[in-house]
Symmetry: D2
Subunit: 303 residues, 4 copies
């Protein structure tokens, strides 16, 4: 019952073919469908039809989708979103290839969010009968799956209230200016799974994408990913490093359109009773650990 | 809503003090309470009061506890267990130190299971305000938390039905003698979180414990754990190795009483819509990967 | 000046093509030359023409070669071998493809050893101008280079004396039955480089090969190697594990002919003034660490 | 015969006690001796008396020592240094505690270098009889040994000629402005062991220290080191990262006096016949891999 995970992101890319080459051959995703002006991708360890759709344009996020556990969840969340004062609308099956009917809403942060239950099942690259632990070969990095996204919001506290009260998310981390009553919420990390975040929001211009993240196995995979990124002349903008906030082992790079990707391992393990962790902005150099400072571009540049 | 996780195990130990020394100084747990004949332990990354209670005796499991998300869950599960034909009984707050009221039931597998919602909150070793990613030092291996347990059952299929229909578990892996209708269920891996299993049951004598498992960060932590085990002359009975079934990176050892522990990293990432994986017994050498054979003791010796 | 390293081994294989497939596609060596009845291989990080020659036959070692730093070393070692009572003979350039003239001798252990200075230079797979840290792709495990070999000798002490007094080797480890005067030498680990051993000898039937070893980067590479070995149905006979003796991180497997290979990372760092380490046979379970026992086949089965 | 390794560095520190705390408790060295105004340190895997001496002052290098294999080497190198036009002088045993007699010379780069053969033997922390692979515990990072140093020179080509022609070093890497005859040597990496460098020189003001480096086991140890550095509020100035030039896995930090330390794993494996690798300054962003640019401070700031 409830939201299962961040299911997909649609992002814009200036040069679709060059960007395809990056996601397919550098990150190692599978191109599962081509439509005029749209490219669909899946990671090797995902069973749903796709998690990424590239659309024409400069850069930035078009929309994202959250998969829910049952059709009843759609109705329940639709009602909740309305009670919260938003204007959800039904979307038809097939508006996006392979995705069933759902609910679409524009968030107070300016992002378009879709809730859906049905999506075509493709299965993972290793199958479900006596599978090996991973594919024997893949091109490039071989990221396994979509992990999370970090978006901007003018009012992170409002978004936090929406996601926790209406959509059943929990808060793993909060970045505040102060722990006292004068503290202002700068960013919030929200989860429905076991991770530090399926979605996070940081104060900024509405409707923007800071990054979306792919899962890697561990710190050694982060190193090998960095080596592939360098061989393929992909701009690395942060890392390899360990985040204090989340314990994530991480490297950030840019796709050819300028969308920021994170390749992410480690992470704290959460649960519904996880005691929320507070970070204060004066300790931000430890939040993004080791290198101990949040580089300017890290939270100011969004596409 | 529902079950959050495997919260605790009570196991027997012949020599309580020697066994304490192992859990405290070799595995690196915190001893949080001593009672006459009972020792309580917690991992550094756990916030609940304890996950392990040592009780006097030879070896083997006394009981285990599942933490539920709300008091309502207790009522709902109590009713469900009764409908399944079992005889759940209410347990009072404080019967086990720090644990609130709950429901106790003897499973068809012969194990005593407790469901509870309240347990004293101690907090993790790193706290919730600008925490470092881990304690700077700990004795021994430094396992972070209880991960799962593997128990025996005369009829794994019955147990699987109980846990999925009544308690909301999902099945990540099934080990069968054959994929066709003649296939018999040998073992089942059950989860309520995101892991391959919070509990697993394998065919065998009723009421036995195969092992309970602790979480490690990654494959390198498995190596370092093995080195500590060896320095402390702890018998290693399997691994280091990678399981095909679960992708777990693993090493098994024995506590001084003879209870089997697994130290476990990696693992497949599951969800409520995870497509169950089937392993057939003819491929069992790949199920426990790399070394490619399930050593005799691995599934026959239980305490 | 002196011996640079173990340069090559010639081993026998029943089925040359199946064995080629293993070395080429599972281990990831490059096949650099085919001759009737001979296959030559090189690792991606080696610059000399080859380090492995497969020859027809059952299994076992035909001969091995040590590369020396200068032509003068050949003369010096030839004289030294004669003084030691052996019968070195000159070998002509081209007797083995790509190898220059040298000195061939049958050791007291029954093995044929060749010393040579010239061998055709092929260069590594990444070249010498602004190279990446590794090839972007390779088939299979991708071992980088030949590391060492373990051979048998009826009298390890005699061999140790030969290699240290005549050939300039140092001893990193000695396995003895006792540290006192009653101690008998069971095995000796000999180096000319910085490693624990370029060659080691263990008491046993003359002329046999226990294993030859390939270099991997680290413990994570050992895990990934094991996964490839399992996917390719290669028999793993030991490990993954950490040797107490050498600190080597290791996995052993069999080529299709039955020759034992070790894939090896870690290792102690030695120097000419390295204080020799003594292991006593009563501690042998710690010498091959973690699993803490030297399995029967480990030192008794040689090809 | 010849030089064995970089044996020690003497560096200045403003605040000896605070700097001692860093080397002892953050890096995990052993303080082996205190003299008025001098502190001596050793790593756990080193057998010689010390590799680091802290002396009073601001920051920077006082001198460094190369250990030679035999007393005859001292005479041979003394003669060679004179022929090269330098002015070597004999130093007496005991001028530095625990170090025997030797040869001292001021290099054309302005650094004081000492050659010595005898130094008191202390033994490693694990000993030479059935040793464990590492100490069970140590404070902080637990670096195992001194690895190399990078110094400045006005004329790197002259220094390269001195070290190769007189002292028997080999060149693993050269950084040049161009591969053609117009190419100027910017930096040179020199080895006598098996590593990419025991000493390296980069163009700059005479007599300066860029950094000296400690050995770590692998990439995972680099991560854990970074976490300790951050917990101890040590400034990290580069990394974690992988160098293209050397393949070193690395993190740089500053001691409390401002001397730069590198913690280093990985590294290319060299030999006397290693084919020298050339890097051109236009590819410098790949030389220090992944992050793909050599940050300004990396080669401009020296103490």
């Amino acid at each position: 019952m409830g939201i299962l995970r961040l299911g997909y992101v649609h992002v814009r890319a200036q040069d679709l073919e060059r960007t395809r080459d990056y996601y397919e051959n550098t990150l190692g995703l599978s191109l599962v469908r081509r439509e005029p002006g749209r490219l669909f991708f899946k990671g090797w360890d995902e069973w749903d039809h796709h998690h990424l759709v590239l659309e024409p344009g400069g850069a930035g996020i078009v929309k994202f989708g959250l998969k829910v556990a049952s059709p009843e969840d759609l109705e329940r969340f639709e009602a909740g979103l309305e009670r919260f004062g938003l204007a959800p609308r039904r979307m038809s099956a097939g508006e996006t290839y392979a995705v069933g009917e759902g609910v679409r809403v524009v968030l107070p942060s300016g992002h378009t969010m879709e809730l859906y239950h049905d999506i075509e099942f493709l299965g993972t690259a290793v199958g479900t009968l006596n599978p090996p632990p991973r594919p024997r070969h893949w091109p490039g990095v071989g990221v396994s799956r979509l992990d999370h996204a970090l978006l901007t919001a003018e009012d992170p506290a409002l978004i936090e209230r929406l996601f926790t009260e209406v959509l059943g998310f929990h808060v793993s981390h909060r970045l505040v200016t102060d722990v006292g009553p004068k503290g202002r919420l700068v960013a919030t990390w929200l989860f429905v799974t076991h991770k530090s975040h399926d979605l996070a929001f940081i104060q900024g211009q509405p409707g923007k994408l800071h990054h979306f993240a792919y899962r890697l196995l561990d710190w050694d995979a982060v190193r090998r990913a960095g080596e592939i990124l360098s061989m393929d002349d992909v701009p690395v903008v942060f890392g390899p490093d360990v985040h204090g906030l989340t314990r994530g082992q991480t490297i950030y790079c840019l796709d050819p359109a300028g969308n920021r990707n994170e390749l992410f391992a480690g992470d704290v393990e959460t649960a519904a009773d996880f005691p929320t962790i507070t970070w204060t902005t004066d300790q931000i150099r430890h939040a993004s650990y080791i290198a101990r400072f949040l580089r300017e571009h890290h939270f100011s540049s969004v596409t």
